[in-house]
């Protein structure tokens, strides 16, 4: 009874002035936390009002405390240019990005639709190729894509799912519209940062965390494990699952080991595995043990030196034979890269219409495909307005941001486009949305994107992690958020709808309700 009274009282009290961030400038950009008058968006009120109550330096202090915690947890990479073994954490910003329930509902539906279409496309393009026969995608574009693996033609993964784990990059423009920037269907990384960022944020902002009704992300690893179990070869009842890593020198190694640890499965390298007969085994202190599902974080062409690159030492000789025989599941399937080729990306809205007979929920960024003569001419005459991207590159490489580029750079790119039009696309420069970010001891707006993670075990079973990696371009004015280009990350708070479960503020995986009182409490 008491609860009800105090609840209604606090509701009355909260009808004070709506908080705004003092001295913060949106500079005319769309901001994720405040509107153009600097006033907190509805779901960000608690957070902004907390910031307003902070004494000076408090935000920097918490920023520092979190950096220390991440360092202690060993979530670091070695700075190779410095042989004294200096280590750094991925830059992290303490101000979370908040996504409203209604916006998330839209994103969630859009991503689920997109993954369904992409998986249909993958089945099709390696088998019947109906979408090509129908003239929707030119055969030439598919067959010349570096990520199209002829070795995978005719393959039929279990449940018709090729891409089990996806990390799709989303951006918002000046109107707040959400666009899909690219689909990462090979070995998308970053989800470990989502979980660890959340872990340290919960310790540092427990009050506002609970009040903001943030949806939990900690069950990702259980969901991933369940997915990997579900996709095991049908004849296996209790599958042995492993995570395959290129090894400790890979930049995402921390994530590989983190996911294996969280799922309680072995983390293996290629040299730990061996193919004998029709099966793949891992070498243990008790001899060989059969492996049924491999969550592989090794690139396609390094997976099996017998089928792909002969010089690969990261893979397992004969693995593809076992895969073809249906005796092991690879997640993601080799060959998925064709669907995130930057040229093929331009056709995803067409795929959604063709395979699902639906209108795309999330739009693509308008894309010019330089292979098409008409598009190419437009691109070459509007280079100062466009972002030019190499189809076969990732990680922020092979990019020209036209408005910021020098004439000489534009010329060089024009030359490259003319020489190999297949390899180039162009998109209008979006004014990416921004979010308040701690710079020294105050907040400044920085451009952000968002990478949600999607799990798909069957065409009708797609789940989107409520949250994702918000990447932030820490350099003033920069639009490049990749960590290899000096980007950092933020925690992403997806607000729960009425009745939806929210995160526990007490601990990571423990449900406080289940805790028994200590003997002294009785």
């Amino acid at each position: 009874m008491q609860k009800q009274t105090s609840g209604s009282v606090s509701q009355v009290q909260s009808l004070g002035p709506i908080p705004s961030l003092p001295n913060y400038q949106t500079d005319g950009f769309f901001d994720e936390l405040v509107d153009k008058n600097n006033v907190a968006r509805p779901d960000a009120e608690e957070l902004v009002s907390l910031f307003n109550r902070f004494p000076p330096q408090e935000l920097s202090r918490r920023q520092h405390a979190i950096e220390q915690a991440l360092f202690r947890m060993g979530i670091t990479f070695t700075v190779y240019s410095d042989n004294s073994g200096t280590e750094k954490i991925m830059p992290f910003d303490v101000v979370p990005r908040i996504v409203s329930a209604i916006l998330w509902k839209h994103i969630d539906a859009g991503l689920r639709q997109r993954i369904r279409a992409l998986n249909r496309f993958l089945c099709d393009v390696y088998n019947e190729r109906a979408i090509i026969q129908e003239g929707i995608i030119p055969a030439e574009l598919v067959d010349t894509a570096p990520a199209y693996l002829k070795e995978c033609q005719g393959l039929k993964p279990f449940n018709d799912v090729w891409c089990h784990i996806t990390g799709t990059d989303l951006v918002r423009d000046n109107t707040g519209t959400v666009y899909v920037l690219e689909d990462n269907l090979r070995c998308p990384s970053g989800v470990s940062y989502v979980l660890q960022n959340r872990h340290v944020m919960k310790r540092n902002f427990p009050q506002v965390f609970g009040a903001s009704r943030v949806r939990p992300v900690t069950d990702y690893s259980s969901r991933l494990f369940q997915l990997l179990r579900d996709v095991a070869p049908p004849h296996v009842s209790d599958p042995t699952i492993v995570v395959l890593t290129p090894g400790v020198f890979n930049s995402a190694y921390y994530e590989h080991s983190f996911l294996a640890q969280r799922m309680g499965v072995q983390l293996v390298e290629g040299r730990d595995l061996v193919v004998e007969g029709d099966y793949v085994y891992m070498k243990t202190t008790r001899g060989l043990q059969r492996v049924d599902v491999i969550y592989r974080r090794v690139d396609d062409t390094f997976l099996d030196p017998k089928t792909f690159r002969k010089d690969s030492v990261l893979g397992v000789k004969g693995l593809m034979d076992v895969y073809r025989a249906g005796n092991v599941c690879l997640a993601n399937a080799p060959g998925t890269g064709i669907a995130d080729d930057k040229v093929i990306y331009a056709f995803v809205p067409d795929m959604i219409k063709y395979y699902l007979d639906e209108e795309p929920i999330l739009p693509n960024v308008p894309t010019y495909v330089c292979q098409k003569e008409e598009d190419r001419e437009y691109v070459l005459s509007h280079m100062d307005e466009l972002v030019i991207k190499a189809a076969g590159e990732s990680g922020g490489y092979g990019i020209l941001i036209g408005p910021h580029a020098k004439p000489k750079e534009r010329e060089e790119f024009a030359q490259k486009i003319k020489e190999d039009p297949r390899n180039w696309i162009a998109q209008p420069t979006l004014e990416l949305s921004r979010a308040p970010t701690v710079i020294d001891d105050h907040l400044e707006g920085r451009h952000v994107d968002l990478r949600p993670y999607i799990l798909c075990s069957r065409p009708d079973d797609v789940w989107v992690l409520p949250g994702g990696l918000t990447r932030v371009a820490l350099r003033k004015g920069s639009l490049v958020v990749n960590s290899s280009q000096g980007g950092g990350s933020k925690d992403t708070w997806v607000v729960a709808e009425q009745g939806q479960a929210i995160a526990s503020v007490h601990g990571d995986d423990t449900d406080p309700v289940d805790r028994k009182p200590e003997p002294d409490d009785r």
């Binding site: 060993g74 294996a260 640890q261 730990d272 891992m282 243990t284 060989l288």
Partner: protein, 316 residues
């Protein structure tokens, strides 16, 4: 468990144990130089001899002094077995098998490494016993975290084997070199050598108090017996060997093999020999020879582990 993981865990624990022992050597020596302003013997040279890398040291540093021995043993990045090198290697091994450890264990080792690394500039100019005591505390914390956050399953037994093999080796080295330097001739007992130096020896293995409680008086045979044969003191050689034997037995009972592995056979033989040797025989036969043979046998056990478990080539 994966063979690669077993091997990395074994080395991870062995390297951290090695770092701890180096800190112990330096700590007690620093203490001794404070208590005894004019040395009866040079306290630093024996620390170099302990390593068996005397020549390497001479070529790089020349005559042993407090500062260059501390630099060599604790912080030399070029020396393959300095405290810092060992900790870095241990941590790299831990990183490569992080998923097989508890989070606390990784974080503790990570802290340990950074503590030593960040302290090196200050310690190179002015080494303090207090710092090395803190290193020892970190090491105790690390072993405590391992023992209390990980199930004592195969992985734990491999790390226990690494830790105890290394500890037995280091206990034997400290006895060996210190013994000859403190007491060149057995006839000197009770003359030039006083309690302080024997105490130092025992302090290096944290055994001073345990020894006093049992024997009160300093006595060479009893001290040697304490080092070699004590049944329950955790840093005595017998105790380490028996622990390795137990862990290897556990590892074997987990595996499907019918015959005992070579490592298991070797450690059992060594244990048996220790059980049937007394301290008078050791001293009469030459302690250095005894210790030498012991170290060869310990190395052989380590080599056999590779054959038995780390390079799995068995067929399914």
């Amino acid at each position: 468990m994966l063979s690669r993981v077993a091997e990395s865990i074994y080395w991870m624990s062995r390297q951290a144990e090695r770092a701890e022992n180096l800190a112990r050597f330096i700590e007690v020596t620093l203490h001794m130089t404070l208590d005894q302003p004019e040395y009866l013997v040079d306290p630093w040279k024996p620390l170099v001899q302990v390593t068996g890398d005397n020549e390497w040291f001479k070529a790089k540093y020349g005559t042993a002094t407090c500062q260059n021995v501390v630099q060599f043993l604790a912080f030399d990045r070029e020396y393959h077995s300095s405290m810092l090198t060992c900790l870095r290697a241990s941590r790299e091994n831990a990183r490569s098998v992080r998923e097989a450890l508890s989070t606390e264990a990784f974080e503790e080792l990570n802290d340990f490494y950074h503590f030593v690394r960040d302290s090196s500039p200050a310690q190179l100019t002015d080494p303090t016993a207090e710092f090395f005591e803190q290193v020892r505390d970190h090491a105790l914390m690390w072993t405590g975290v391992l023992d209390n956050t990980m199930p004592h399953n195969t992985a734990w037994h491999f790390l226990n084997v690494g830790r105890l093999l290394e500890r037995a080796d280091k206990t034997s080295r400290i006895l060996d070199v210190k013994y000859f330097n403190l007491l060149p001739r057995v006839e000197d007992v009770g003359t030039a050598v006083d309690d302080l130096q024997w105490s130092t020896l025992l302090l290096a293995i944290s055994g001073f108090e345990a020894y006093r409680r049992e024997h009160q008086l300093m006595d060479i045979e009893k001290i040697v017996a304490f080092f070699l044969f004590h049944r329950t003191f955790p840093r005595s050689i017998y105790s380490c060997v028996a622990g390795v034997d137990r862990s290897l037995r556990e590892i074997e009972s987990e595996s499907d093999s019918e015959l005992p592995g070579q490592a298991r056979q070797r450690i059992a033989a060594l244990r048996h020999r220790l059980e049937n040797t007394n301290v008078k025989e050791v001293i009469a036969g030459g302690m250095h020879q005894f210790v030498d043979r012991l170290q060869i046998e310990l190395n052989a056990v380590g080599d056999s582990l590779g054959q038995d478990y780390f390079y799995a080539t068995q067929s399914a």
